[in-house]
């Protein structure tokens, strides 16, 4: 026989500690008579205890920095919704700007003669990979939360390309050095989302970046030989290392 809704409500209220004395007495009388009621009470109590025992998880350590950094300019910028502001808020235009910045930067590096012309086969397609990182596999990632710099760096792979995807907040101007152990790997491009002002230079086996504030950008490295490699990241303020991390890539064979 089905349990009356009234007793179902009392059982749940009892488990939740939201039952009055008179209702409790009524429930106890019911449970003393009904084996079905006792079984349901036990099952629901177990379920609720399981739910209450689910662990809380720690938020990512750099999240607080990212939020605080993001709220800073909101008050500082006047809240006018002019035509230009609306236009620049459009996602399509944002991505177009991202693409343009990426291409300008890579082309300026190309013209500086630092890298091979072979390196620019697929930069256009890669700009989208930081907007939709889910489409490429993550080989390794590190998160950190230092007073000078916080955020996450992931090493992703797309075909023969390795992508250093950096989502960072720096409270002061910092230099980032990314050294790669395998000298057959070469720098293949750079793109960043919704920001400007990142400085970049390259030499064999190393990319150097200079940033300040919140930055989301990607460095593309060509790894045609598909070799194992380790990328050593060093974060420097005024020439002093404030954080170091390694990212490993092992090809799946």
């Amino acid at each position: 026989m089905a349990i009356l809704q009234k007793y179902l409500d009392l059982i749940n209220a009892d488990i939740d500690g939201e039952i009055g004395d008179s209702d409790r007495a009524e429930l106890q009388a019911f449970l003393a008579e009904s084996a079905q009621g006792r079984a349901l009470h036990q099952e629901l109590a177990l379920l609720c205890s399981t739910l209450d025992d689910v662990d809380t998880i720690d938020p990512p350590p750099h999240m607080r920095h990212m939020i605080m950094n993001a709220v800073k300019p909101i008050r500082a910028i006047p809240q006018s919704q002019g035509y230009l502001k609306k236009l620049f808020a459009m996602p399509a235009l944002t991505h177009a700007i991202t693409f343009a910045v990426g291409v300008v930067l890579t082309l300026s590096l190309l013209s500086s003669g630092q890298i091979s012309t072979r390196a620019f086969d697929d930069v256009t397609g890669l700009v989208g990979t930081i907007a939709e990182p889910i489409s490429v596999g993550v080989s390794s990632a590190v998160s950190f939360d230092k007073p000078e710099v916080a955020g996450k760096v992931s090493l992703r792979r797309s075909g023969a390309m390795l992508i250093l995807d950096m989502d960072l907040v720096a409270t002061a101007p910092i230099e980032i050095e990314a050294d790669y152990t395998d000298r057959t790997i070469w720098f293949n491009g750079f793109a960043q989302l919704e920001s400007t002002g990142t400085r970049i230079s390259t030499e064999t086996g190393r990319v150097r970046l200079g940033i300040e504030g919140k930055r989301r950008f990607a460095v593309y490295l060509q790894n045609k030989a598909e070799r194992d490699t380790t990328i050593n990241l060093r974060f420097l303020v005024d020439g002093k290392v404030v954080h170091e991390a390694n990212l490993d890539y092992t090809p799946t064979r």
Binding site: N12, E43, L44, L47, D55, T56, I57, M63, M68
Partner: protein, 179 residues
């Protein structure tokens, strides 16, 4: 944190005091992140939603109604943002759930991870309205009255939604052999 403490911090935030906002952030980032994680089943998505929630709070702090408790406002924003995110995610990709590393011994970690994984999978199997009341009750520890205040529904509706959500969760866990 008491209502008076929150109200005081909010007044300071309205006056442009970032430090006051940081205190609110420290106080609420964990429950907001956990609620979003249980609603979405993904750590990355929960992080994005948490950031959006705090930015919305900061941008709209002068619209906060001091007659309500702050937690009911921020939790309501969190759940709304999570549900919006679910709508977007549904259009883009299948949902996935993650097992969380919380620094326990291997044995505890396996038990805890299995429990977390099973419960999370069951949560993702019930509808978002029901998941919302489970998250409010069991993850955020809200009373019937507080849930009613957050969702702006009568306590009677809270109870029926919660009881029905539990029944569905129990059915899913039994069906999957996790329970």
């Amino acid at each position: 944190m008491s209502k008076t403490d929150d109200t005081n911090l909010i007044e300071r935030c309205i006056g442009g005091d970032r430090k006051a906002f940081e205190i609110l952030l420290v106080q609420y980032e964990r429950p907001v992140f956990n609620a979003a994680f249980r609603m979405l089943g993904s750590r990355d998505d929960a992080m994005d939603v948490t950031q959006t929630v705090f930015l919305k709070v900061f941008e709209n702090i002068d619209q906060y109604d001091p007659s309500r408790r702050f937690f009911s406002w921020i939790y309501r924003i969190t759940l709304n943002e999570s549900i919006n995110w679910l709508g977007k995610a549904k259009r883009l990709q299948p949902l996935k759930s993650e097992v969380v590393d919380d620094g326990k011994s291997l044995e505890q970690e396996i038990d805890s991870a299995n429990l977390s994984k099973d419960v999370q999978a069951a949560l993702m199997a019930i509808n978002p309205d029901q998941r919302t009341v489970i998250v409010l009750k069991h993850i955020l520890g809200c009373s019937y009255g507080e849930i009613g205040e957050i969702l702006e529904i009568p306590e009677k509706t809270v109870k029926s939604r919660l009881y029905s959500a539990r029944q569905q969760l129990k059915d899913v866990l039994t069906r999957t052999g996790a329970y």
